[in-house]
Every structure is written in structure tokens, then in C-alpha cells.
Amino acid sequence: MLSENLWFHNIYCFLYTGDTAISGCSNATGLLPESLNWMPYYIAGFSMVLVLINIFMAFGALYTYAERRLIGRFQSRVGPNRAGPFGILQPVADGIKLLTKESMIPDQADKPVYNLAPIIMLIPVILVVAVLPVGEGTFMTDLNIALLFAISITALTTIAIFMAGFSTGNRFAMLGAMRAVAQLISYEVPVVLSTVGIILLTGSLSLVDVVEAQAIPFILVQPLAFLIFIIGGSAEMNRTPFDTVEAESELIAGYHIEYGGMKFAMFQLAEYASVLINSAVITTLFLSGWEGPFSFIPSPIWFLLKMFFMAFCFIWIRATLPRLRMDQVMSFAWKFLLPLSLINIFVTAIEVLIFGVNGTFTQGDLWIISGINIIVSIIGIVIFSKILEIDSGFNTQFKVTV
């Protein structure tokens, strides 16, 4: 496994032998005595972790700038343009402002939980970076259950939101937390099920294998799963049209209403970084990751380009759509996304039975599968949107008699 991870291997070999040569460092004699062999190993590991996490956090900060600037354009206004050239230092200015704010804790708050919540919110976002293959041979670890890891670790944010909402003792925050628990857990189901089709096609849970299996991007092979993943993803990130958890016009800010200063900044950073992480996961699963049509552009650049394109789409959605009501959000998950994801699994499984030879597919087979799947998705979406409309739920309104 170590040999596949070129980035780590290079750093390790350099530290071990003091030579820039790439190959054959396992047989070479090290610079250091044998008792200190662990040192280059750990330094190489730490440097990689440091670089990746900092890059992602910096991108998260930069993304806040990009979002504000782009939404400014969408709304026919300018957006932040004062700090630095084109306002690019706005995240820095915000960071300084938030860091110097007084750390306020409400009297009725449960203090340990209140302080712990922003940390728990931020940790899963950082952890997912560990399994993302950013470029060819550029990843921290090729976990054999990477997909499962990424999905389950991001589900932890539910707990953070729940902790934040209930520990502050604010009623708006409590309403937000109640909504968060219901919504995030509901959307976890179709999101996980939508990835099953990819697992069937690749026969592996490793994200590196997933990227390598994409002879054609899985957005064509699994269009239904892609749609479900995008919708479920934006619901899990609390973005419009599913931002009922924060709902600034209803619950003002929802669960983080009582947070200020750096704790608030951590929530914001986690939220914005999670958009990037989600875009990265979508890139890996559906847009063939680091692979690109032109090889003269390095693979991490391809990855970043696709990731930022997905992030741009999320910003676009946020600037455009109004919000659904809570019960509509829930019925959409259970009555629309869930059956569609099951249909997707069913169809994909049959296709794998028919076309798969020892679990591998030729490019021609994949094109045929994508053709079938696109037709199935269109039919499925049309039928289930009609059912959603007829079935008590979406367009009819409920008034409770009191």
C-alpha cells in the first residue's frame, strides 16, 4: 500500500536517505541510526497531514470569500471588495474580527457541551480529508472502507448540531436542533443507498479504486445516484432549499444562535469546508476524481477544478431557490429520494449481473449501462414526482385544528 502513495513515499525516502531519488529506498542505508528509523516516517506523515489540512482549511476560508462574492454577483451587487485586491483578504479580516471578540457563554447554557460542540462540528470535516485521493498517488491513506468512512464520519455533524442546539438553552436553537436531527438522519439513508450502485460497479469501497474504475465518469453511468447524492448532500450541509435547520428568516440562525466569536467562526468554517468536502466526494465518486482529458495538467489541478465547479453549483443553488417547509423536506426524503435510490440499486445490480465479467466492465459496457440508467432515471423521476404530488404531502397544505 505504501508504494502506491507516491507523495508520502517521496517525502519518506528523502528524509530516510537524504537523496532525492525516488526508487529503492527500502534497501538503501539510512542517514540516521536504526533506532531512529521512526523519525523520518512520522515527520513525513505529519508534514503531509499539515499541508493537506491547512490547504483545505485555507480553501474553506477562501470559499467563504468566493461564496459572498459570487452571491453578490447573482444578486446584482458587488460583494466584499474592500480588504485587499478585489477583497480577497476579507476572510482574513473576518477571522481577525472573530478572534478578537469576547467569548460569551449564556447563563442557561450547559457549559462543557456548549464549548465542545464547535470542535465536534469541525473534526469530521477534517477527518474526511484523510481518505480523499486528491491526485494520482496523492492521498493520506487508501483506506479499504474509505467510502463508508467518509459518509459515516460526516454524519457526526448531526451530533454536534444537536449538542449546540440543546446546550444553549435558547428555544430557537432547540427548534433548529429538533429539525436537524430529523432532517440529517433522514437524508443519510438515500445518500448512503445512492452510493451502493457505485460500490456494485467498482466492487470496492476504496475511493482510489472508485476513481480508477471510472473509465467514463459515473455521472453518466449513475445519473440517478448523482442527483440523489447532490440533493441529499445539500440537505446534510443545511443549504437551500433544505436549510430548515438554520432558516435565517424563521429561526434566525438555528442551532448556533447563541454562539459568538471564534466558536461561531468554527461553525461557519465547518459549514463552508463541508461544502468543499462534499464537492470533493462528489468529484471522486461521480466526476472521475483526478483523471482529466489532458495529461499535461497535473492530476491535483483536475481534482480542484472539478471540486470548485461543484462548489460553484452549490452556491448557485443557494442564490436561487426558496426554502421548503420541514414536513415537505421530510416527505421529499422518504417518498421521493428513498424509492428512487432503491430503484437505482435494483437496476444497477441487474446490469452488473448481465454485463460484469469478474466484476469488471469494458468501456462499451459502461456506455450501454449509462444509456439504460439515464432512461430509467428520467422515467423514475417523472413517475415519483407525480406520486409525490398526488399522494398526501407535497402540494397540499395541512392545517391542524386546535
Binding site: 452571491i71 447573482f74 444578486q75 446584482s76 451587487r77 428555544r171 430557537f172 432547540m174 427548534l175 429538533m178 429539525r179 437551500t240 432549499p241 436549510d243 430548515t244 432558516a247 435565517e248 428568516s249 424563521e250 429561526l251 434566525i252 443557494r318 442564490a319 436561487t320 431557490l321 426558496p322 426554502r323 421548503l324 417547509r325 420541514m326 414536513d327 415537505q328 407535497f394 402540494n395 397540499t396 397544505q397 392545517k399 391542524v400 385544528t401 386546535v402
Partner: protein
């Protein structure tokens, strides 16, 4: 399944209460089961202040009532003053008043529509779009009287001054652009699936309920009842222009939104007709600086963007009104708040508040 009831103070500092409105709501989970509106956070005692000022000075107070459509407030007040004094302003002044009042109506409805969609959760994109056009109306007002929000453009017996030369081309270009922008709003919003699923059927009231609760304006017309003071009791030059009174069907939030959009189109057509008909002339009667109406009383009313705005003026022959009672449409339109909101979800309550389009400056005065 019952859960413990929760009482939430909704406002006075809340982004969706359109000012400093406070609602004490009782929630069962997400459902509103009880509601009590609390007013008065913006109460400035305008009616008391009016008793200490001259008749002309009171116009500045009316600007600060419904600050999103100061023109119609001015119009209602000066109309009641003219009714009290039994004078009629010059025809050109009447045309200018109608043009500026209709511009004010468009500005107010733009704010109403924008904030309704904002309350629906569409970040603030539609609001910014609406403000983009409102900005041009404010620029037109600036040409007319130098102010943008608190206008004080109208005077007893006419208007403050004749239009400057640059006003008419600017108005023309605004009228052409606004048609296009209204189409733009409709293409973005009217058929939107989320907007439909959030507003159709929510908080609907019947015509009888609305009339019984003295509700007027777009909310009454959304129930399907054709009642617009501009047609049933035409004042100024409204009987010289042709326009329709748009009505809804169900009296729900969606119909209120649609009625406002359609009214903006009708306002544009009214302004166009006025621009064609208006002729040069005097814009103001030669009244004395300090007006002293004979003792008596008058109730003048206009169709403001929010509903019927009336001024009940009593004069005792002095330079200031003895009593200046305002009939605030925003306040009275909130009468059915309980019937509209109780039983719906919190999210629906926000949308209903947005669709009622009230203005706290006028509610509390």
C-alpha cells in the same frame, strides 16, 4: 401524540417581523397553537404630535407612518385637508399626485414581494432584484422633491413644485424597463414549484371574514372581492384613466403575492395614461402660508398600497388640527392574525406575515 407546549417570543428583534413587531406564540412542536400580537415598540404618538403642529407641518409626520410609500400617506392627508377646506387643487397637480402615488405603490409592492420571497427563504436574491428597481423609483422621487424616503412632496392645494426637465425622460425609461423586470420576476417566481408548494392554500381567508374584520387592500382583493377605492370612490384623476382591479380567488398567500404583481402592472398603465394626458399648468393653489380651515371635520381616504388609508381631521379654526386620527390599514389588516396563523407551522407563519405586508411605522404610529 402530545408534546409539552413551548412559548416563544417572536420578535421584537427578528429579521422576519418587518420592524419591531412582537408575537408571543405557543408552539406544539412546529405547529402554532396560540398567538398574541404585541404592538407599540415604534409608537411615537404621531396623532398627539399632529395636534401641536400646523396643517402643513403634519405632512412631515405622515411620511414617517408607512415609510415605504410616503406619497400615498401625503396624498391621504392633503386630500382630507382639502376636503376640510373645500378646495380643489389644479389639474396638473392632481396628475402629478396620481403619478407619484402610483410610483409609490410600485415601490411598496416591490418591497412587499421581495420580503415575502425573502421570508420564504430564498436568501436575499429576489429582495435585491426588487430593490434594484425600487432604487430607480427613489431616484425619480429625488428629482421631484429632493428626498428619497420621507418625501413631503404634496401640499394642501397642490404639490411642492413642478417637475424638473430630467424627470420625464427618466420616468419613460423606468416605465419601459419595469415591464421587462416584472416579466423577469414572474418568470423566476410565479411558477416556481417551491413557492407554489409553500404558499398555495396557506392562511386563506374568505371575503366575509376579511370584510367583517375591516381588512382592505390587496389582502381583501386576494379573496376575490373587487373593492378598490380608486374605482369605487374615485379621487383626483382616477376617473380619467382606465385600469383593472386585479383580484385573486382563494385569499391565500399565493393570491396576495399575485395580486401585488398584477397591481404593479396596472400602476404602470395608470402612470402611462397620466403621462399622455397631463398638460402644463399651475401645480399649486395660492393658499396662505398658515392654513386656517373653518371649524368642522372631514374624513378623507385613499387606496394606499396596504389598504384603505384614511385621515379623520377635526379643525377648530386654528392653525393646527384639533384632532388628526389615522385609519392605519397595516394595523387593521392584522386583525385576523389568529385565524390566519393558528394551526399552521412556524414556517407558514413567517410566510403569512410576509404576505400581509404590514409596516410597523404605520401599525404603531
Amino acid at each position: 401524540m402530545n408534546s409539552e407546549l413551548m412559548t416563544v417570543n417572536f420578535g421584537p428583534q427578528h429579521p422576519s417581523t418587518h420592524g419591531v413587531f412582537r408575537l408571543r406564540i405557543t408552539l406544539d412542536g412546529e405547529t402554532v397553537v396560540g398567538l398574541e400580537p404585541v404592538f407599540g415598540y415604534l409608537h411615537r404618538g404621531s396623532e398627539k404630535l399632529a395636534e401641536e403642529r400646523t396643517f402643513t407641518q403634519v405632512i412631515t409626520l405622515t411620511d414617517r407612518m408607512d415609510y415605504t410609500s410616503a406619497m400615498t400617506n401625503n396624498q391621504a392627508y392633503v386630500l382630507s385637508c382639502e376636503k376640510l377646506m373645500e378646495v380643489t387643487p389644479p389639474v396638473r397637480a392632481q396628475y402629478l399626485r396620481v403619478i407619484s402615488a402610483e410610483l409609490s405603490r410600485i415601490a411598496s409592492h416591490l418591497i412587499g414581494t421581495g420580503f415575502l420571497i425573502n421570508d420564504l427563504g430564498a436568501f436575499i436574491t429576489p429582495l435585491m432584484y426588487c430593490f434594484r428597481e425600487r432604487e430607480r423609483i427613489l431616484e425619480l422621487f429625488e428629482m421631484l422633491c429632493g428626498a428619497r424616503i420621507t418625501l413631503t412632496y404634496m401640499r394642501v392645494g397642490g404639490v411642492f413644485q413642478d417637475t424638473p426637465a430630467e424627470f420625464w425622460p427618466a420616468l419613460d425609461s423606468f416605465l419601459t424597463d419595469m415591464e421587462f423586470h416584472l416579466d423577469e420576476y414572474e418568470s423566476l417566481l410565479t411558477g416556481n414549484e417551491i413557492l407554489l408548494s409553500r404558499t398555495v392554500g396557506v392562511s386563506s381567508i374568505t371575503t366575509d371574514q376579511a370584510l367583517n374584520a375591516s381588512i382592505t387592500g390587496p389582502i381583501l382583493r386576494a379573496t376575490g372581492f373587487d373593492w378598490d377605492l380608486r374605482t369605487v370612490d374615485p379621487y383626483e384623476v382616477y376617473n380619467r384613466v382606465n385600469f383593472e382591479v386585479p383580484t385573486g380567488e382563494n385569499g391565500d398567500n399565493y393570491d396576495r403575492y399575485l395580486v401585488r404583481i398584477k397591481e404593479m402592472r396596472q400602476s404602470l398603465s395608470i402612470i402611462k395614461q397620466c403621462v399622455e394626458q397631463i398638460e402644463p399648468g399651475k401645480v399649486r393653489l395660492d393658499l396662505p402660508f398658515l392654513i386656517r380651515p373653518d371649524s368642522g371635520e372631514a374624513y378623507g381616504r385613499v387606496e394606499s398600497p396596504k389598504g384603505e388609508l384614511g385621515f379623520y381631521l377635526i379643525s377648530d379654526g386654528s392653525i393646527s388640527p384639533y384632532r388628526c386620527k389615522v385609519r392605519p390599514p397595516s394595523l387593521i389588516n392584522l386583525t385576523l392574525l389568529n385565524e390566519m396563523i393558528v394551526g399552521w407551522k412556524v414556517a407558514d407563519m413567517i410566510v403569512t406575515l410576509g404576505s400581509l405586508d404590514f409596516n410597523m411605522g404605520e401599525v404603531d404610529r
